[in-house]
């Protein structure tokens, strides 16, 4: 079930109504059943995978917490990690490995072409973090299987995060929540903002991006640059829109999920960018990859190596394709270069310049992230630098087939997005209730009149 469908809102209303009517004792069961239904509507057979992962991690967690033997505890942790990573490997990376073997050793092994279970990278990472935290003694193992299963499958964040830690989410799921209008209105506001980003901006700008990136040979530098900036906006609106709807839906159920995006394109350094973009994943890699490798408390070369490895793994997490690995590598290398100290100025223009520079670097990396292949990405960069326009900028833009109305709607919507993000970035709050009410109405009717009604999947569902 997709967040941007009418079905989801019918589902959410029914669940909210039942949730607040039901005795607290049984609410976990309602949410668990709802979460399995939410996922099963897409492909019921993949529920087995979630159940398998849940059961293994539940048993390993209990085993780790009850055992005094260091060896056994370690063995159980490896069992948990191995089973999760095996699932991930088979469904996500097996064909990539076979292709690599075929290419390197000139073999012809058959690919399996398995369907990637939606959200597999998210829920396996979430459960792995649980096992590691129990092993490290940071949290106690959850004894109630139902609550643990709910932690793994809680529907607002099941398929694309935020990747929550058990220490944050489990206590909230157990806590008795009273109906509260503030939760409903705050949640609704987040849902509206998320929907606006997804259906008005991301799905509409996708028409331009897909046309250009899928037929990149037909376009010259200027249009490729516009499409790349378009993709930067699309992926931000798509993913942060998803996160907003997830956070908003959970808020209505009285659960506070962590922030996943904090106006990342206003970052003045790449390091700052990664504290604002996909925060839950960045923190996961920091805590479970970067720090175990030694983090920054090692010699310089090793520290840089740790940083690069973390970003390469992050790229590989996004997809079994060299383009994602290069994307991660670019971020890693630029972050290392950023550590070289240069004199910092405090002029506003200098800060704006830095924001633009970081945005340009991020856009450059997005080329690899979005391109259909490495050769496409290289071709795109080559054209950006060598041939700017074909028949004039306007004629080239027209040739993408994007109509005037689409362009006007996009300009309108991106302006609203910019204002909302700028207010957030400046930590300014609108206190006037009438203005807030007006804002909600503008968002609601923008979604209804200008939203792309064809329900499209979120980009991060494929990861």
């Amino acid at each position: 079930m997709l967040f941007n469908s009418v079905d989801y809102f019918v589902f959410l209303i029914v669940i909210l109504f039942a949730y607040y009517k039901l005795n607290h004792k049984w609410r976990w069961l309602l949410l668990l059943a709802a979460s399995y239904f939410f996922y099963g509507v897409w492909k019921v057979e993949f529920l087995g995978l979630i159940l398998f992962s849940t059961t293994i991690d539940y048993l390993c967690g209990i085993g780790i917490s009850q055992s005094n033997s260091k060896k056994k505890r370690k063995w159980l942790l490896w069992l948990s990690l191995f089973s999760n990573l095996s699932i991930l490997y088979v469904f996500k990376y097996l064909d990539f490995s076979i292709t690599a073997v075929n290419d390197i050793f000139s073999q012809d092994f058959v690919l399996y072409n398995l369907v990637l279970p939606m959200g597999i990278s998210f829920y396996t990472f979430q459960t792995m973090s649980y096992s590691i935290d129990v092993y490290k003694g940071d949290i106690k193992a959850e004894k109630h299987f139902g609550y643990f299963a709910l932690y793994v499958t809680f529907f607002p964040q099941l398929v694309a995060g935020p990747i929550e830690r058990a220490s944050r989410l489990l206590p909230q799921l157990k806590q008795k929540v009273e109906f509260n209008w503030n939760n409903i209105s705050d949640g609704l506001k987040m849902v509206l903002i998320g929907l606006f980003k997804k259906v008005v901006i991301a799905d509409r700008i996708a028409q331009l991006v897909n046309e250009v990136y899928n037929n990149q040979a037909e376009y010259n530098g200027a249009i490729l640059i516009i499409a790349t900036v378009g993709f930067a906006i699309q992926i931000y609106c798509d993913f942060s829109g998803y996160s907003d709807i997830a956070i908003g839906s959970a808020r209505m159920l009285g659960v506070n999920l962590m922030d996943n995006f904090k106006t990342p394109y206003f970052s003045k350094s790449l390091q700052e960018f990664w504290t604002r973009w996909h925060i839950s994943l960045s923190q996961w890699f920091r805590d479970y990859v970067y720090i175990p490798l030694g983090g920054s408390k090692v010699v310089k070369w090793r520290w840089r190596y740790n940083l690069l490895i973390t970003f390469l793994v992050s790229g590989f997490w996004h997809g079994a394709n060299w383009t994602f690995i290069v994307w991660g590598g670019i971020h890693g290398v630029i972050l290392i270069l950023e550590k070289i100290k240069v004199k910092q100025f405090s002029y506003r223009i200098y800060k704006i310049g830095k924001m633009l520079f970081v945005f340009s670097v991020v856009c450059f990396a997005w080329i690899f992230f979005r391109a259909n292949s490495m050769s496409d990405a290289i071709d795109i960069i080559h054209k950006m630098m060598t041939s700017f326009v074909k028949n004039g900028l306007i004629a080239d833009f027209k040739s993408t087939g994007i109509s005037l109305i689409n362009t006007i709607i996009l300009l309108y919507a991106i302006t609203i997005l910019f204002v909302l993000d700028w207010l957030n970035f400046q930590k300014k709050k609108v206190n006037n209730e009438y203005i807030r009410l007006f804002g909600m109405i503008v968002l609601l009717f923008s979604i209804l009149t200008m939203g792309v009604t064809e329900v499209k999947e979120f980009i991060y569902f494929q990861f």
Binding site: V6, D7, W181, E218, N391, K398, S399, G401, S403, L404, I405, I408, I409, E433, L437, M440, I441, L444, F445, L448, T449, M450, G451, V452, T453, E454
Partner: protein
């Protein structure tokens, strides 16, 4: 502001704006070419006679009144063949019109697989469809029901394109949607694929048979016209099909069942300079010329039939 007052104010505002937008949208759509034809159709007398009756999508707007002294144009923007079929049933069963010749388009995307989910103008189409019949044929039943309800509650959903067309496009008085981008033929690097035909392009083929059978039953002469489109439109639409094979397959299927295939293919008759958007001919002058051409082709087809 008290919470209860805030909720009441919000709901009241949403309801009022929704009512206003619904009313505005529907009144604009009624004024637009889209529904004008529908009103004109409603005014027809039961059992009225027409030499030529034109149905189908906006490509049929290329035909002007010089085609016949007794003709009716019942085509609408974005109409798909399944909708045409149900409208046609209304023509012969409810209005009981007497028609000599029925013209429908046979474009390269007219039979292509689409979701029958009633998402386009449900508030408009519902009156021509037997809801249960259409629902039983639908390949998207749940979405069909959902969109039908939405069509009544918020008819203007994603209506920005229609509004824009109406207020800002040159199509306001010409039964055409907005002016799009006409890419010069010289800039389109496209060759028509040979010997390829994806089955999805024939998804709605059964409706051609249904219309054909109804015509045979009523003694109506059915003509299918492939209307002019630009090379750019072809390149965007027909990447995985060979139009010649497409037409030949339809012809073969119909003739196997003993049904007629009267086809006039004018899809590549004009260069891009004659178009106002990639698949609609330009001003009245060219459309007048096109109509004369169709008249001539129809007359040639008729004499050929007589000679046979």
């Amino acid at each position: 502001m008290k919470r209860s007052r805030k909720i009441i104010l919000l709901l009241a505002l949403v309801l009022v704006i929704n009512q206003f937008l619904s009313y505005w949208y529907e009144s604009v759509m009624r004024e637009s070419s889209f529904a004008k034809v529908d009103e004109t159709y409603e005014e027809l007398d039961e059992g009225e006679h027409f030499d030529i009756f034109i149905m189908g999508n906006s490509h049929t707007f290329a035909l002007l009144d010089n085609l016949s002294n007794s003709m009716f144009k019942f085509g609408t923007t974005g109409e798909t063949i399944d909708q045409t079929y149900y409208k046609f049933l209304d023509v012969i069963e409810n209005k009981k019109l007497k028609v000599d010749t029925l013209i429908i388009p046979l474009d390269i995307n007219y039979l292509v697989e689409l979701k029958m989910d009633n998402s386009r103008y449900p508030f408009f189409w519902n009156k021509y469809l037997s809801f249960s019949d259409y629902l039983s044929e639908s390949n998207e039943k749940w979405n069909f029901v959902k969109n039908s309800i939405l069509g009544y509650v918020v008819p203007y959903v994603n209506g920005s394109n229609d509004m824009f067309d109406y207020y800002f496009s040159s199509g306001k008085g010409n039964q055409l949607r907005s002016e799009g981008n006409v890419i010069a033929d010289s800039l389109v690097d496209f060759e028509i694929p040979k010997g390829e035909l994806d089955e999805k392009y024939l998804y709605f083929y059964p409706y051609i048979e249904k219309i054909n059978e109804q015509c045979a039953k009523e003694g109506i002469h059915l003509i299918m016209i492939s209307f002019p489109v630009t090379k750019y439109f072809y390149s965007q639409t027909a990447k995985k099909m060979d139009p010649e094979l497409y037409f030949a397959t339809i012809k073969n299927n119909l003739e196997t069942k003993g049904l007629e295939f009267n086809h006039i293919n004018l899809s590549q008759e004009y260069g891009s300079e004659k178009f106002r958007d990639p698949h609609h001919l330009g001003d009245n002058e060219i459309r007048f010329e096109f109509t004369e051409l169709v008249k001539q082709k129809m007359s040639e087809q008729k004499s050929k039939k007589i000679n046979e």
